[in-house]
Amino acid sequence: MNNEKRHMGMRTLNAVSNTTIHILLVIISIIWIIPFFCIVMQSFRVESTHMVSYVIPHTWGLDNYKNLFAEGSFYPKWYLNTFIIAIFVAVLQTLIVLCMSYTLSRFRFKIRTKLMRFMLILGMFPGMLTLIILYNVLKDLGLTEANSVPGLILVYVASSGMGYYVSKGFFDTIPKSLDEAARVDGATRAQVLYKIIMPLAKPIVIYTILTAFMAPWGDYVFAQYVAHLVPDGYNVAVGLNSWLSLDQIANNYTKFCAGGVLVALPVGILFMCLQKYYVEGVTGGAVKG
């Protein structure tokens, strides 16, 4: 009897806490989704181009999207700049991070632990501290303003080796004897990496690609400094922001919203397709990291 009562009590308690948690989550989700919803709505508003005090457009249309790609618009150039940067960074950073992680996970060399500690400490300094010096270096190399694309690729890729933690943690969970078996079977170290380790580390490879792609895709501060008021060198974030300046916002606000939606689209799709691997990558690396 007593036991039954206790069970009933537990069940009620569980139900109450579950309901509370779900209500909280729904509220948080709504708060989260409101800005996105507003931007999407505004991007379809055609009756005016300035900011208004209502959300649902009175007249719907695709004019804002068409205007983004109209002749004379910088938007396609900005989009292309961002895309080129993100693709290069995704490829190069993934290669560097995976090689770095594999090396730190598998090889034992004298300064290994010192190097890892050094990178950990270095990573604690905010990246913004390097802004001025990086700008000057890039300027000397001629990689600013209109040439900001290769300059930004260089900046994003240069320190990518320091992001080895998660993938090294993942590699550590793959038994070393697999490497050894493959080496005895006749594989070189490089073959071990791409024939054995990479297929097993698929979630972490995808996680690395995703994070490497997203950082430059949404970057504003570095891109703003490096492009320095030359629209040809802007990325999407900087370009869109230029439409929000006092003299432009009245004509460009709805276009800004449409541009924002198009920026979010590829990342959103990519994320939805690879979500499974992303979660596996983060948690997989964390277990034995």
Partner: protein
């Protein structure tokens, strides 16, 4: 097929721990050599140095007359089976076995023939399209052996391949390795911590402790003439009984007096002691449990039975003598009267004895066998 020669091989780790000291051994072509010893004795390290998976701190390793110290594992023409199977989880059994052949860029027809042939020998044909996770431990180990087989390598290295299997499967796989060895007819180096595996598989056994070779010999040699107390204790199960006593020489004959009972060292052992000119001295007397017999003779060594382990075909009796020394006695059940057997319960007083022919004599200080 090749010989393997290790000369003065040493392994010192970065933290200055010496794992293997001056290891000298020549493994003949087509020989099956087993490295055996307790954990941390350096047996796996030595095998991994032969494989090229560990650097050598000093000395040379030759395979088929060629020094391989600086060669990568892939260039040593060896095959290796790992304790944890080390199968590639993302590949099917077929791809696992074919992996090395594909790296050598062999034609697919040849790969197919070799893989199916190996699978047939190992009885895993029906699992070729499965992934390793869908196999049992025994099947996985067969795949690992198959992967090593198809390479036709000069030397076959096995690092505790049966340790992860249950006892029944281990016995079965042990027999299969013996058959496999006959079929492959190549040089084998096998590492284990299980003395039964070592005794049953090896042409020669290398017994190691703390990075040093203790003895190298055939299973019969290491069993019948252990070089020191460590080997005596390690080879044979249950392990040899060691009794501290005195060896006396009286009128050209040798006697020992374990627990106050005088026993003559007769037969070959007595002659060998005389040849070596051993004088009266303290010794550590070794007697294997199977060489001690129960007797009704009241002049024999009196003991009290502590534990009686029924092993099926034999009993393992743990007894202690009047001075508290513990001995283990192996008694084949077939030699026991059923009435006597029932009486063998804890606390029962029994008498045990052994013949001089089966005694082993060790120096209690150096632990060396006096007849070596």
């Amino acid at each position: 097929m090749a010989s393997v020669k290790l000369t003065g091989v040493k392994k010192i780790y970065d933290n200055n721990v010496v794992a293997v000291h001056d290891f000298d051994l020549e493994i003949k072509d087509k020989e099956f050599v087993v490295f055996v010893g307790p954990s941390g004795c350096g047996k796996s390290t030595t095998l991994r140095m032969i494989a090229g998976l560990e650097d050598i701190s000093d000395g040379t390793i030759e395979i088929d007359g060629e020094v391989v110290n600086d060669l990568q594992p892939k260039d040593r023409n060896i095959a290796m089976v790992f304790q944890n199977y080390a199968l590639y989880p993302h590949m099917t059994v077929y791809d696992n076995i074919a992996f090395s052949l594909r790296l050598q860029k062999r034609p697919e027809d040849e790969i197919y023939d070799k893989v199916t042939n190996a699978a047939e020998i190992l009885g895993i044909t029906e699992y070729l399209m499965r992934k390793p996770r869908a196999l049992s431990g025994g099947q996985r180990q067969r795949v690992a052996i198959g992967r090593a087989m198809v390479r036709n390598s000069k030397v076959f290295l096995m690092d505790e391949p049966l340790s992860n299997l249950d006892a029944k499967l281990r016995n079965q796989m042990r027999a299969e390795i013996i058959l496999l060895r006959q079929k492959l007819n190549t040089t084998f180096v096998y590492v284990t911590h299980d003395q039964t595996e070592a005794m049953t598989l090896g042409d020669r056994i290398v017994i190691m402790k703390d990075g040093y070779i203790q003895q190298v010999g055939t299973p019969t040699e290491v069993f019948e003439m252990p070089k020191n107390l460590f080997v005596a204790g390690f080879i044979g199960a249950p392990q040899m009984n060691i009794i501290k006593t005195q060896l006396t020489k009286e009128g050209g004959k040798y006697y020992v007096k374990p627990f106050g009972v005088k026993l003559e060292v007769d037969g070959q052992k007595g002659e060998d002691l005389a040849k070596k000119g051993v004088a009266t001295r303290d010794i550590a007397l070794g007697v294997r449990p199977e060489h001690i017999t129960l007797t009704h003779d009241k002049n024999a060594i009196p003991c009290t039975l502590e534990v009686n382990e029924m092993m099926g075909s034999e009993l393992h009796l743990h007894v202690f003598t009047e001075d508290g020394t513990r001995l283990i006695v192996r008694v084949p059940t077939i030699t026991l009267d059923p009435k006597d057997r029932e009486e063998l319960v804890a606390g029962k007083k029994v008498y045990v004895t052994f013949s001089g022919k089966v005694m082993h004599f060790f120096d209690p200080e150096t632990t060396e066998n006096l007849l070596n």
